[in-house]
């Protein structure tokens, strides 16, 4: 792999992306709404009298874990909901890059800009890796900003124990390491699929399936079936790195220059 050519592709894709404001706006909507809902919910709960959280009879199963940690019911509800929002934010990080990635190949097909590029010495792996890296940038950055905004909101209005729960190492690590890697998986899947199809929606749809295992993991964690801790994050990072490397190899194999040039009109 030639680093000069890879950086040329990255610079170019960033420039192209900076000219597509509509993509930024589309991508900003979901995390922004999520942050807003998280903070409004937080405020609504904080404004609710403690008496409303006195459970008659048995403690709801979802809250038992927090109850056993000695938290009062209201705080337990706050932390439970916050963890749900943070899990949702991580899932959003996986979905956003597919928008950019599918357009990165199909957009070039539509505008007929691929043939001149394919006639240059740029290798397929350089082209696809460059596109992938740039595809994840907005999604990951929006997710980080959203996480930062949620934390800032919590710090402003929530009790210290709630802030501590949202900043325990598992979350920053998951956002810093796992989110970009899962985003790469999503982007690579979109790119691999979009080099074989002509409709960005098909590529995005297929990449959307990737969210299902993550969603399953998130729901399992929320139901208390598994406890996501730092070791989970590191195992996740190792697994996603391996998956991303395999996906890159598959995407390179699927990217047939000839098919793109001769069968796509």
């Amino acid at each position: 792999m030639n680093r000069r050519r890879l950086f040329a592709v990255i610079r170019h894709e960033l420039l192209e992306l900076s000219r597509s404001r509509i993509i930024f706006l589309t991508m900003a909507i979901v995390p922004s709404v999520l942050v807003l809902v998280a903070l409004l919910t937080e405020q609504a709960i904080l404004a609710t009298p403690d008496a409303a959280f006195r459970f008659e009879g048995a403690m709801p199963a979802l809250l038992e874990r927090y109850w056993s940690e000695g938290l009062d019911p209201k705080t337990a509800v706050l932390i439970l909901l916050n963890e749900q929002f943070l899990t949702m934010l991580l899932i959003v990080a996986t979905a956003l890059p597919s928008t950019v990635a599918s357009h990165a190949v199909i957009g070039e097909k539509v505008e007929r800009t691929l043939e001149p590029v394919l006639a240059t010495p740029v290798a397929t792996v350089e082209l696809l890796l460059g596109k992938t890296i740039v595809s994840i940038v907005p999604g990951v950055v929006f997710t980080w900003i959203s996480y930062g905004a949620v934390l800032a909101g919590f710090m402003y209005m929530s009790p210290e124990v709630v802030v501590a729960s949202a900043t325990r190492p598992v979350w920053p690590l998951a956002f810093a390491l796992l989110a970009p890697l899962v985003a790469v998986t999503s982007a690579l899947t979109s790119i691999a699929v979009s080099s074989r199809v002509n409709d960005p929606r098909t590529a995005q749809g297929l990449a959307g399936f990737l969210v299902i295992p993550l969603l399953g993991m998130g729901i399992s964690a929320l139901l208390g079936a598994i406890t996501i801790d730092v070791s989970w994050v590191f195992w996740g990072v190792a697994l996603m790195t391996a998956i991303d490397a395999a996906l890159l190899a598959i995407a390179v194999r699927l990217f047939s220059r000839e098919t793109i040039l001769t069968r796509w009109r």
Partner: protein, 314 residues
């Protein structure tokens, strides 16, 4: 005299898409510094030939080499040496001229890229519009910008697919002048075109493709001669029919036709036989106004070539 070095070589190059034969058994040698015109109607296989020669698509059979490098096995090194102007400009519409060219300069690792870009944009009269998004440029300007992109890294071999197709006459002249300049720099150029006048003016040799087969290769003059033979055309002051008999008496005249005041005498070498033709006609009282070798437009040659093949096929 410089030795002749073959830069582009194709051997039995064939491309099939399912049952459709896009190109069949293309054999071609293009020496260094030659402008080779590839002519043919739409669907004749010109773009496929170009894509095969540039390694963009793989042949079904046969092989191609650029400067000794196999276009499939050494695709990367071949791509470093060639410049390709594609059928459609394929520019990034939201980026301006400089941004479009800078991307390709970065990929090729062009040194002093900004100077090089400025020079090309000025040469192609695009400098004043350098900050305009490519999508907002006129069709002709986009075509010139795509040509600049193809030449940015100083390729020794240049493939041009319809370089003047979208251009107004003034812009086309600029582009043709640039191609002529490239020729003086001993660059090897394959020029796919529908513009036969352009091929006639620029190409050292032309190849005519028809239904995926290269049906004729030669200089434009050779093609004319191969199809029509050579002939002397004599314009007389009187009715030509009166003097046709004298012309028919000439041993070297293979065919004599009179039409109005014009006499067409087919012969193997007008340069040698014209004085004798004039003497023979004057001797029988003809008043000769003008004598010239017959020149057919390449367009007529091309159309007749394709027509001839169509007739043979039916």
């Amino acid at each position: 005299m410089l030795p002749i070095v073959t830069v582009i070589r194709a051997e039995k190059l064939t491309k099939r898409f399912g049952d459709h034969v896009a190109l069949l058994d293309l054999d071609l040698d293009v020496p260094e510094g030659e402008v080779f015109g590839l002519l043919g109607p739409n669907g004749a296989g010109k773009t496929t030939a170009l894509r095969l020669l540039t390694g963009l698509v793989a042949p079904t059979s046969g092989r191609a080499e650029i400067a000794g490098a196999n276009v499939q096995a050494d695709a990367q090194s071949v791509r470093e040496r060639i410049g390709l102007l594609t059928e459609t400009p394929g520019l990034y519409p939201r980026l301006d001229s400089i941004e479009n060219l800078t991307f390709f300069a970065d990929i090729f690792g062009v040194e002093n890229a900004s100077t090089k870009i400025e020079g090309l944009l000025k040469r192609l009269e695009l400098w004043d519009r350098r900050k305009v998004a490519a999508g907002a440029l006129s069709k002709g300007m986009r075509q010139k910008l795509a040509l600049a992109r193809a030449l940015l890294h100083d390729p020794k071999v240049v493939f041009l697919d319809e370089p003047t197709s979208a251009l107004d006459p003034a812009s086309a002249k600029v582009v043709r002048a640039l191609i002529a300049e490239l020729k003086t720099e001993r660059r090897t150029i394959v020029l796919c075109t529908h513009n036969l006048d352009e091929a006639d003016r620029l190409a050292d040799r032309v190849g005519v493709l028809r239904k995926g087969r290269l049906v004729h290769v030669g200089t434009p003059t050779e093609l004319r001669h191969r199809l029509y033979g050579r002939a002397t055309v004599v314009l007389l002051a009187d009715d030509a029919e009166k003097f046709a008999g004298a012309a028919r008496g000439l041993a070297f005249a293979t065919e004599v036709r009179a039409s109005g005041r014009t006499l067409r005498i087919a012969n193997d070498d007008p340069d040698v036989h014209n004085p004798e033709i004039v003497r023979a006609l004057v001797a029988v009282g003809a008043n000769v106004i003008e004598v010239k070798g017959e020149t057919k437009a390449l367009e007529d040659v091309y159309l007749d070539l394709l027509g001839e093949k169509d007739e043979a096929a039916t």
